[in-house]
Amino acid sequence: MRLSLLPCAGLHQPKTLRPGFARLCPATTGLRHGFVFLLSVLAVGVIAAATAASLLLLGGAAESTSYTVEQSMQAMEFARSCVERGLQDARSDMAFAGDRSYSWPRGSCRLLQIGTATDSEDVFCAEGRSGLAVRRLEVEVATLYPDVKIRSWNEVKTFTRCPAT
């Protein structure tokens, strides 16, 4: 009797052999184990890859956050610088009206027109920028002479006491 060999590697093994064909491979053992192992590897790999990617993204996000923290801190320093310069200019010029801008290599600040508040001399509104970070300060000055007396020094989301320019 002549027999034809049936390939073992295929996924679709006929359940019954036609005449002239002989089952040369074990029906399930080695083949199924390899297949399951491969699938397991793939599944575990996908999970591992997803986990790793998440961690990678988390690491990236943390780095991004750290840069944002740095820029935010720098933006606040620029806003403070604007207030510092504004207070000095106001003390050396009786007609000082604000509306100044200053810049540094890594950012800038803008001092809006001096605003007014009840029972206060002036309100200084300063906006510092560094990268994408923006910080705003509203500083209410009770007196300028002989000492500068600060009534309030607040970080704000939007300016409310200085005229828009």
Binding site: F37, G59, E63, V69, E70, M73, E84, S92, V148
Partner: protein, 493 residues
Amino acid sequence: MAFPHFHHRSRPIPHRCGGGFLLVEVMMGVALFAIFLLAAGLVLMNGQEGTETAGDRVRATFLAERSLEAVRDLRSVSFSSLGDGQHGVQLGVLGKWEFSGNETDALEGYRTNVTISTPGTGVKRVVAQTKWKHGVARSGSLLLTTDLTDWRSTCDVGNWASLTEEWRYVPVAGSSFNDIAVVEDRAYVVSGAVPALHILNLSTYATATYDIGGLTATAVAAKGKRLYVLTSDAAAELRVLNIENLSSPIPLNPPVSVDIAGTPTSLAIRGNELYVGLTNSNETLQPEILSFDISDSGALVPLKVGHLAPLLGFDVKGIAVRGTGAYLALYSGTMELGISDTTHATLNPNSIHNLTAWGGDEKALSVATSGTGLLIGCEKNTATSQSPEWYIEIVNGGISTPLSHLGSGSITGVSLDPQGQYAFLAAASGRKALQVVSIANFSAAGELAFFNATPPAIGRDVLYDPVRDRAYLVTSTHVVVLRPGGVPTRPCD
């Protein structure tokens, strides 16, 4: 090709036929798994490293910020201690910040230094740099920059018990000066003669004049780089000049002016509002006080008006604005002080006061505020030959019992020092054109010093300059810069 013959056997021989395939599969699987594992490991390490690097940077940011705060603290003690160069900062034995070496070592490999430079007069630029190195891969540095100024220092006020004339401006052509405003180191004095504007450089004492179209002027006020002048032009009394170039005023382009019905007498600025006082007592329908929005430096936007019409006979001779109050010097023998609430829809006075300490018929000519103080100068009473001025404390919107003092001649201009020690009075009299009075105790200390105008002239206005600790006396013919006698003090400039 013919297949070899096989003998049928009861059991298959898997090892011979499938073994190779399974091995390849296993090897592929293991290889794939190894690749995944390697990739995952690398990514894990990378992610971990990113997180650690982020932590390094955040920590370094706070260390740099702490150094800037330390320098800020040192500035508060002494601005002059901020010497240019690279410094380290550390807490001293007394728990106060101090400079130490040129770098500060923090724990765990962080090093911070601050570099101080002077980018402009009175400004210190502080750059804090923090470096870190943790192994081969985790190293870096960052910078934080800030500017500091000397705004925390105190501007001294000298002892005005005696006066010294520092400089005098007497123009060649006769002038009739009326009012003065100061911007930076320039004084702008308006005159009732042509040219109407005189510019005095208070640093070099160079002078210049500006002819406002052949007009004369009665009052001037300044805000930023804009000069507001009341001129003799009946069709455009209030004019705005551009003083971007402090020495060369020019009209705005396009010109900005306002035709004010009536006779404007005085100007005052509070924030972004300009107030104009008028003598319209004979015009029942015309306001005695106006305000304009000057937040747009190229426009005068009318805001509010105030009427004294029900009390005919009241003219506004002077305005001073503080907080939400506009204080009006009323030219009336019975009511000298009017107070308008600037937050109301109109500037109609909320209260009017009769300051009759001297039994009188005195009429207010001038008013000034500083801190919580309000000073009102009056016309000389021809019946009693007395010229009182009143000093009032403004407390929670109300006024205290007035303190009064008798000056010499009609008090045409008043000014206060911000510390509340001295009142400066310009009197319309040849003798004692300027008088300095102790505010702290009008009745006891009274007049501290005076200045006789030479050449003879009458006082028109006075302005105390807290930046320089100087008083500018404006007389009918000249301007005098006065400083306190004795040891020179350290003013703000």
